[in-house]
Symmetry: C2
Subunit: 403 residues, 2 copies
């Protein structure tokens, strides 16, 4: 491997914001400052769009105080994009890279971002313009391959776990059926995390539906009915991507005039249609009087002030490691390996090939879901609990002995 | 005034849960323990329903540790009810009170709860069964008369302020129009609080609509269009109870099959219909490509772990004062008077007549809303800021100078 070039670097944040993607950005910045091989570090505004449009800020100029506020802020501090660059788009980026002598590319995002890093690296090689191209994992969905888990997941998981703790207490106070729709098109990890705050045997959510397990309306209603008969209430969490037995998502069935984004995905977030539909089904078919439904929407990924300490530390560490890897290697994606669990939770970071991560998605493993397809297992809880950190303790007195 | 009777006491939590209604409950418990006049302190499970059904727990038995967890927990720890007792209902309650020698009645809730306390007190007087009847204010809507503000408001206000800080950063990262529907049927205080985390001049929410100011669809769309032309994005918060110029709520216009609760209110929370309708209007009429809408739902009142320190302290204090007042007076509602503001924020508590609070609602004063009817004033911010406590600091770098 050749020595690391003395050149400029660019970093971008791609796809949906998370609660810790800015911590990864700060990790890149603080590590880049340590390596004289990296001259200027440019932040690309709106990700690849900024790289095409030559729209950059100077990240090395930021003060240490500013960096700490950035690392604690949700969303994407240098703005993001859902553009999915093809070869033509990448060719334009490479022109800007040549003009600015950018030879380091750091891209924080999901599997599409790993793919962009891969395409750019390959095209640059072919043009004999060597760039070092690294992907830093980020997603609230936790759906990237190779890595044990994704930065961004722990904080979003903490939010939904807290939300369900409160929502379940609310449902105890005013019983009925409550349905909460959680982000997750293809992977159910975030919806599964809604159970992580359960303290009492009869705490909700009582039913959890993920995209990996199709469920018919008949089965769904029978499940809800059984819980209501037992507890006189039922709290349910549902991934936005759950589908019927025929594999078609319920959202898709609803969405005649569905808006689609540039990736060909049906819009699932930012609308309450699925939640309202499910509530209507319960009301009509089970005769439950009080049925409510909430769609958590963007709060899941953007609520400030509740980062998971483990998640934010790992996100920052991933950013730093990407720069370290770039000093020695041509390309790669940063991944997390779990070395110990429970009280001995410990991870190390390693490099994997971009093509191992690009354009692929991970689903919940079978062992994380119960046989019924309406709940999670202890194996999932053991996997997820270390990622969210401490959750608030709560108390409900309604089950105390009567006098 | 006769001496306080040596008898049993009951406390109930009524109406929608909040983040600090349990702190008021704990205030009642800890103060009741200090007064030998109060023998047993019963917690009525599901509020008046528990009083009719003789369904009580013993609150004096709870340990100090348990009480602290209760005070920090959202929702209503002894469960709540939306029953609105009439005279017949109250007569049944009084039978149970006589049987159990309950002569102290503490009821934490909104204006309906003050009314229940008033009816019970009057009926008991007429039956020559003297009870001391006190209302402790609680509502996320902040819509009670007399009191400067309501316990429960500050914590809900903190939640929506934080939520909009994150949501605005998310909207900066992926620009478009974002509409957030906030609780508030008649009063706009909670929706107004969505501005409290604004740090930069162009931070959202850029438009704020409250029930006190009717707005036509034409005006709404013109407002959104103007912000989009200026900022290329727009974040909007809307009370669930906003109405058209004819005074009819937009939700009502949508809700053909609207479910109504026992108080004759149209269901506004727990459905995404209003948000989706507004998003559709913006998309169709303004041709904005990326329009998203979230309905915050029950998270606003039940999210754990983010109590406003001022709010939780005042809620507890109101509970304690209700018991203190009951040692000297026959009935009343606890109210908050603001003695100083800003860095000198300070309050005292006082007793007001139940009839001053019962069945009445307070709206946002004119001076809290701008002339355009689409935003709040500095006077509102000065009023509300002390109630929410510190908010997280955030940073967005997209406006930094380009290189």
């Amino acid at each position: 491997m050749a020595d690391a070039p003395k050149a400029n670097a660019v970093v971008g944040q791609s796809g949906g914001p998370t609660g810790v993607i800015n911590a990864s950005l700060v990790g890149v910045i603080e590590e880049a400052k340590k390596h004289p091989e990296i001259q200027n570090l440019y932040g690309a505004i709106h990700a690849v769009a900024g790289m095409v449009n030559d729209d950059f800020i100077d990240l090395k100029k930021l003060s240490a105080d500013t960096l700490e506020v950035v690392a604690a802020s949700p969303s994407s501090a240098i703005a993001t994009s859902r553009d999915k660059p093809d070869e033509e788009y990448c060719a334009k980026i490479l022109e800007v890279f040549k003009k600015r002598n950018i030879r380091y590319f750091f891209y924080i995002g999901g599997n599409d971002s790993a793919n962009t890093a891969h395409i750019l690296n390959t095209m640059a090689d072919e043009a004999n313009f060597d760039i070092r191209s690294f992907h830093i994992p980020k997603t609230v969905d936790n759906d990237l391959l190779v890595t044990d888990h994704c930065p961004g997941y722990g904080t979003a998981a903490k939010f939904v776990a807290c939300a369900l703790m409160g929502d379940d207490l609310d449902n105890r106070a005013l019983p009925g059926v409550k349905i909460d729709v959680i982000m997750g098109r293809h992977a159910g990890f975030l919806t599964a995390a809604t159970v992580l705050g359960k303290q009492r045997d009869d705490d909700g959510p009582h039913l959890v539906y993920v995209p990996e397990r199709p469920v018919s309306m008949e089965k769904f209603l029978a499940d809800v009915d059984a819980v209501c008969k037992k507890l006189n209430r039922c709290v349910i969490t549902v991934s936005e991507g759950i589908c019927d037995n025929d594999g078609v998502t319920w959202a898709q069935k609803l969405a005649e005039q569905a808006e689609t984004d540039a990736h060909g995905n049906v819009q699932l977030s930012g609308t309450g249609a699925l939640a309202d539909f499910l509530a209507g089904q319960v009301k009509e078919n089970l005769g439950v009087k009080r049925v409510r439904a909430d769609t958590f929407g963007y709060l899941q990924r953007s609520f400030p002030g509740i980062q998971s300490p483990v998640d934010v530390a790992e996100a920052r560490w991933c950013g730093r490691h990407a720069v370290q890897f770039a000093m020695k290697e041509d390309n790669g994606s940063v991944a997390i390996k779990r070395l110990g669990n429970g009280p001995d939770y410990k991870v190390e970071l390693f490099r994997t090939e971009l093509c191992n991560v690009a354009e692929k998605t991970k689903s919940m493993p079978d062992e994380f879901m119960n046989a019924e397809g309406n709940g999670v297992t202890d194996a999932f809880i053991e996997y997820a609990i270390p990622l969210v950190g401490d959750l608030p303790k709560t108390e409900f007195l309604g089950g105390y002995p009567r006098v």
